[in-house]
C-alpha cells in the first residue's frame, strides 16, 4: 500500500530511487540541474581540489553570468574569464554569458525546469523554480563542486507546510504584496526548513510570474523549497520551451503536512518590508511619505514583463520625481526585447527611468546603483538587510513594482492605488 506523500516527498523519493521517504530522512539525490552563476569560478577552484578531471555529466550543469554583469572591475572580469575557460575545457552544454539574464529567469525560460524536476543551485533563490511544480533548493559552493564531481549530494527530507490562499486581489495589490504579508506574519524563520506548498483558488488563478515571486521569496521565511503544483497554466508556459512529456506531480490529498495556514487576500493592501529585515512588514500607508533617493524595478523577484508593465502603468504620463534615480532592469534579454516591442521601455524612459541591462544589478550591492550613507532605496528585490545594497548606513524598503513606481513618481514612499485610480 503506497504511503501518502506530498509533492516534495514524491520528487525526492523518485530521484533517490526509493518508493517513499519521510520527513527527517537523509537521502542521496542526483539533481536534474545544478545551477551556478558568477560563483562558478570559485566553485571550479573547489572542484579542482577534489582530484577529478571531468564534470560528471556535461549536460546537467547550467551556468549563468548574472551577478556582476557586465564586469565591474578587473577582478570580476577575470572571474568571468575563468568561468568561460572552465566551460570550454569541460564542454558544459548550458552556459549563458553576460546579458542573457538573471539565472532564476533564464533557467525556466530556456527550458531547464520541468514539473517534478529536482533542481539544486548555489544560490538561495533557486527556490523560484518551485513555481513550476519542481523541488528546487539552494546549496553552498562546496556542495555544488561535489555535485559537479560526483553527480550526487545528501539532502534531508523536509516537512511540508501548506499555505492556502483564498479571495481575489484588489486593484493595485499584487503577488509581491501577498508574499511580503505572509513573511511579515510568519517571521524570518516561520517556515524554517519546510517545503512550503502554496494551494487554494487564488493560487490557481495566479500566472506563472506571480507564482515565481511567491516561490522566490519563500526562502526569506526560512523555507527549504517553495512549491506550486503544476497545472494547465504551467503546461502552457512550458509547452514551447521544453521538449518531452510534461507530467505534474501532485500531493496525495491525505499526505500528512506539518500544518496548514489560510489567508484571504480580499482585504490585502500594498505592503512594504521596512529596514533592515524582510519580515519587518507594514501596510504602505504606515510608511507613506518617507523620502526616497533611489527606486529599483527588477531582480529575480519582480523583473518580468508583467512587473515592468505594472510599473509602466503607474508611470504613464508622469515623471520620476527630482532627486530620485529610478533603475529598471528587465530580468532577461528576452523580456527586455518584449518590453521594448510593447512600448513599455519607452514609457518608462519617457518618465525618466534609467533602463539597465538584464542582471542582478544593485540588488547585492556589487555595482549599478550602490547607495551612499543616509540614502533610502525602495526596491522590488527580495532582501533589505543592513548593507545589502553596498552601504550599511543606507536603508532599503521592499515592495511591488507598482508601489516602487508610485514612490519614484512621488519622491516619497507612496500607495500605488492613488495613481492607478486616475
Amino acid at each position: 500500500m503506497p504511503i501518502p506523500q506530498t509533492i516534495s516527498q514524491k520528487i525526492l523519493a523518485r530521484n533517490a530511487g526509493l518508493e517513499d521517504v519521510s520527513p527527517g530522512q537523509i537521502v542521496t539525490v542526483s539533481p536534474d540541474v545544478i545551477l551556478t552563476h558568477d560563483n562558478s569560478a570559485a566553485i571550479s577552484g573547489k572542484f579542482a581540489q577534489l582530484g577529478v578531471d571531468r564534470v560528471w555529466d556535461a549536460e546537467r550543469p547550467v551556468i549563468v553570468l548574472d551577478h556582476v554583469v557586465p564586469a565591474a572591475n578587473e577582478k570580476t572580469a577575470g572571474n568571468h574569464q575563468t568561468i568561460r575557460d572552465f566551460v570550454d575545457r569541460q564542454g558544459i552544454r548550458h552556459f549563458y554569458d553576460v546579458g542573457v539574464g538573471i539565472c532564476h529567469q533564464v533557467v525556466p525560460e530556456r527550458g531547464h525546469v520541468l514539473p517534478g524536476s529536482l533542481v539544486l543551485g548555489s544560490d538561495s533563490h533557486t527556490t523560484t523554480y518551485g513555481a513550476f511544480g519542481a523541488f528546487a533548493a539552494g546549496i553552498g559552493r562546496s556542495e555544488a563542486a561535489v555535485v559537479w564531481a560526483t553527480g550526487t549530494i545528501w539532502l534531508m527530507v523536509p516537512e511540508t507546510m501548506v499555505i492556502e490562499i483564498d479571495g481575489t486581489f484588489s486593484a493595485g495589490v499584487y503577488p509581491k504584496d501577498l508574499i511580503l504579508y505572509i513573511i511579515g506574519q510568519l517571521g524570518a524563520d516561520g517556515a524554517l526548513y519546510k517545503a512550503v506548498e502554496f494551494r487554494g483558488p487564488a493560487i490557481a488563478e495566479l500566472d506563472i510570474s506571480g507564482r515565481m515571486t511567491l516561490c522566490n521569496m519563500s526562502v526569506e521565511m526560512g523555507a527549504k523549497a517553495g512549491i506550486v503544483a503544476a497545472d494547465e497554466r504551467t503546461m502552457e508556459w512550458l509547452r514551447d520551451r521544453v521538449e518531452g512529456p510534461l507530467e505534474p506531480v501532485i500531493s496525495d490529498p491525505d499526505a500528512p503536512v506539518e500544518r496548514t495556514i489560510r489567508y484571504d487576500i480580499g482585504e490585502l493592501e500594498p505592503q512594504v518590508a521596512c529596514p533592515h529585515t524582510v519580515d519587518n512588514v507594514a501596510p504602505v500607508g504606515e510608511v507613506a511619505g518617507t523620502r526616497i533617493h533611489q527606486a529599483l524595478v527588477g531582480t529575480c523577484t519582480n523583473g518580468r514583463l508583467d512587473d515592468l508593465r505594472q510599473a509602466a502603468q503607474v508611470l504613464r504620463g508622469s515623471s520620476v520625481a527630482p532627486g530620485v534615480r529610478l533603475l529598471v532592469l528587465p530580468a532577461s534579454a528576452q523580456i527586455y526585447r518584449q518590453a521594448m516591442a510593447e512600448g513599455i521601455l519607452e514609457t518608462l524612459a519617457a518618465a525618466g527611468a534609467i533602463i539597465l541591462n538584464p542582471g542582478c544589478g544593485p540588488c547585492l550591492g556589487a555595482h549599478e546603483g550602490v547607495l551612499a550613507p543616509g540614502e533610502v532605496c525602495i526596491s522590488t528585490a527580495n532582501r533589505n538587510f543592513k548593507g545589502r545594497m553596498g552601504c550599511k548606513e543606507a536603508s532599503v524598503y521592499l515592495a511591488s513594482p507598482a508601489t516602487v513606481a508610485a514612490s519614484a513618481a512621488a519622491g516619497t514612499i507612496a500607495d500605488p492605488r492613488d495613481r492607478l485610480a486616475h
Binding site: 577534489l50 562546496s142 560526483t150 524563520d189 526560512g222 547585492l364 543592513k386 548593507g387
Partner: protein
C-alpha cells in the same frame, strides 16, 4: 573527537549572511584569510580584532539566514571560531558550516543561558557543553556529518573518499 574551548560572543536572532559577510565582497575577495578580516563587520566591528581561536558564537533563532554564500561560514572558521551554538540555524548556512568543518549546534537551552565573554567547552563526541551556566547536553551529530567534520570539511572529505574508491 576534539574539544573546543573559548569565550562566548553573544548575538541575537536572525543574524543574516549579509552582516556576517557583506555581498559587496563576494566577487572580489577569494582568499579565506582575507574573508576572515571582514567577518561580522556590519554587525560587530569589534569582532575581527578581538576574536581568539576556539571562541564560540552563541546566537538566537535562524542564525545565518539570507544568502547561501558559503563565505559566511568560511570567514567565521578562518577568523578562529571553534563552534556556533544557536537556538536554530538557517538551513543553507547549517550545511555550509558543516561543509567548512565548523560545528553548528542547535542547543536552545545553552543558546539562551550562555553569556558574552564566558569561557565554554564543547565536547562533540560526548555531546556536552560545559560552562559557568552549567552543563548542557546535545544529541550526537549524524555519523556522516562527523565524518565531514573529522576530515576538515566537505572538499577534503570527498577528495579522500574519491581517492579511496579510485584505489580500490
Amino acid at each position: 573527537m576534539r574539544s573546543i574551548r573559548g569565550n562566548v560572543w553573544k548575538y541575537g536572532d536572525d543574524v543574516n549572511t549579509d552582516v556576517i559577510f557583506p555581498g559587496k565582497y563576494t566577487y572580489t575577495i577569494s582568499d579565506p584569510e582575507e574573508m576572515a578580516r571582514h567577518a561580522l563587520e556590519d554587525l560587530d566591528p569589534d569582532f575581527v580584532g578581538r576574536v581568539q581561536p576556539g571562541d564560540i558564537i552563541v546566537a538566537g533563532k535562524n542564525f545565518g539566514c539570507g544568502s547561501s554564500r558559503e563565505q559566511a561560514a568560511t570567514c567565521l572558521k578562518y577568523a578562529g571560531v571553534g563552534a556556533i551554538i544557536a537556538v536554530s540555524f538557517a538551513r543553507i548556512f547549517y550545511r555550509n558550516a558543516i561543509n567548512q568543518g565548523l560545528p553548528a549546534l542547535s542547543v536552545p537551552e545553552a543558546a539562551g543561558a550562555l553569556k558574552a565573554g564566558q569561557e565554554v567547552t564543547v565536547d562533540l563526541s560526548a555531546g556536552e557543553i560545559t560552562s559557568p551556566e552549567g552543563t548542557f547536553s546535545f544529541p550526537p551529530l549524524p555519523e556522516f556529518v562527523m565524518g565531514i567534520m573529522e576530515d576538515g570539511g566537505l572538499i577534503p572529505h570527498v577528495k579522500k573518499s574519491l581517492a579511496e574508491k579510485g584505489a580500490g
